[in-house]
């Protein structure tokens, strides 16, 4: 899995942290999303997909590479 974020769309609502705090964080400087792990292990895929699905700004893009 490859995780990409669009920081131009991010509004800093922080929902992604609630789903997958090992993969996403909010910057201490501009408060927008940062990806901690662009290729998360398989056990986190479901949570990362939830984070992408429920991002209010639709700023998270996930590609599954099997």
């Amino acid at each position: 899995m490859h995780v990409r974020v669009d920081r131009d769309r991010c509004l800093g609502s922080g929902n992604c942290l609630a789903w997958a705090s090992e993969v996403f964080d909010q910057s201490d400087e501009d408060f927008l999303v940062v990806v901690l792990d662009e290729t998360p292990p398989e056990e986190r895929w479901a949570a990362v997909e939830q984070a992408a699905r429920f991002c209010p700004a639709q700023a998270i893009h996930v590609e599954r590479t099997s």
Partner: protein, 399 residues
């Protein structure tokens, strides 16, 4: 609800059970998930009820939240007069500029820092209830003061003006005042927020208003008059909603004593229970309102540019395809993806604050008064069917 001449169902619809969405809207969810309704003024709009449709609709960039646009569904007479360009009625990209200015103070990490303050003010209110003695009206003595006081912290209202602020907020927003008294309170609050901004310019603190003044007003990126409207919106959006969730959520818990006992014994389960109560009650029961700015397809139905759309969160949160046995309160279900806070760029900015307030309020209330119960028969409780935010008018309790 009177049947309009067009034969379309009217919106809003009437509830039968005070805890469930109207039967008619749940029937539409099952049978005609994207359907036409008529509003109080004869205007027609689309009503979208399925969870997946509501969720995708609210992130669709071809929908506008601007009440001034023709076709915007004005679901009440009050909204028809409400044409101000507040943040919740702005579209991207204008909206996003202000939203990003406010966002840092509403980050989960920052909001967790508010938790000790919330615990303190909740404990103070519980002390006052204990001193007063049973029965008390939980709405007036607990549910309303909590969000009002938390808003004081966020805006940096000084201690000696808190009583004034809480009084004005209640008169303005609790729906218990006359229209004239509410309008007078709104004017007083507006004037006070202007004064408060002046005070923050002279002596900034660590609150949101101070940060907005020093980072954005002083640098010319934000107009002071806009900052007043942002502060008002934070108050309006966070006050009635949180207060009603505290009172109606407490009542709901009292009606599910087995689950309540489990929560008292296992307080670490409160955050999950809060999500389930938010889903089950969905007190924002008038839906989110948009107008299409281009032709779009929702759930297979073509919606044309210029047509109004109501995204019904209350129905969506009872969609059995997303929440099995949706009409059952179950504190063990994972309800985190409910739509009670809306979705998309207008999703409630204060959701993390509300979660802290609700977690602390319920947990501390039932820890202090484990024997809390209704002080009147259930059939004497007045539910606020006509309010834009659902709840109970009073909640007399004893312990």
């Amino acid at each position: 609800m009177t049947m309009p001449t067009t034969g379309l169902p009217g919106f809003p619809m009437e509830r039968e059970s005070p805890y469930d969405p109207p039967p008619r809207i749940l029937q539409l969810l099952r049978e005609e998930p994207v359907s036409r309704v008529t509003l109080w003024n004869g205007q027609e709009a689309w009503l979208v009820t399925r969870y997946d449709d509501v969720r995708t609709l609210l992130t669709n960039p071809d929908l506008s939240a601007d009440v001034r646009k023709p076709g915007y569904p004005k679901v009440s007479a009050a909204l028809a007069h409400f044409t101000e360009g507040l943040l919740n009625h702005m579209d991207s990209p204008e909206h996003d500029v202000y939203r990003r200015m406010l966002a840092p103070d509403f980050m989960v990490k920052r909001v967790e820092g508010l938790r000790p303050d919330v615990e303190k003010l909740v404990d103070d209110l519980l002390d006052a209830m204990q001193t007063h003695g049973a029965p008390v009206d939980l709405v007036a003595s607990f549910a309303f003061p909590i969000p009002a006081l938390v808003t004081c912290s966020i805006l940096g209202v000084p201690y000696d003006r808190k009583d004034f602020f809480v009084h004005c907020a209640e008169a303005f927003l609790s729906g218990t005042s006359t229209a004239e008294a509410a309008a007078q309170a709104a004017r007083e609050l507006h004037a006070y927020l202007g004064e408060l901004i002046e005070a923050k310019k002279a002596a900034p603190g660590t609150d949101t208003l101070s940060r907005m003044v020093t980072e954005f007003v002083a640098t010319g990126q934000l107009d002071e008059t806009v900052l007043v409207t942002l502060a008002e919106l934070l108050l309006i959006a966070g006050f009635d909603t949180t207060a009603n969730m505290i009172a109606l959520g407490t009542l709901t818990l009292l009606r599910h004593p087995d689950q309540l006992e489990e929560l008292k014994a296992n307080p670490e389960q409160w955050p999950g229970a809060v999500e389930e109560l938010l889903r089950y009650l969905t007190i924002t029961h008038r839906g989110r309102h948009r107008v299409a700015t281009a032709d779009i397809v929702v759930g297979g139905q073509l919606i044309r540019a210029g047509e109004g759309v109501i995204a019904a969160q209350d129905a969506a949160n009872r969609d059995p395809d997303t929440f099995p046995d949706p009409d059952v309160v179950d504190i063990h279900r994972d309800a985190r993806h409910h739509l009670a806070f809306g979705h998309g760029v207008h999703q409630c900015i204060g959701a993390a604050v509300a979660r802290v307030e609700l977690q602390v309020a319920y947990a501390r209330l039932f820890a202090r008064f484990p024997g809390l119960e209704l002080a009147v028969p259930h059939d004497q409780i007045r539910f606020k069917h006509q309010s834009s935010v659902y709840g109970v008018a009073e909640l007399p309790v004893r312990w």
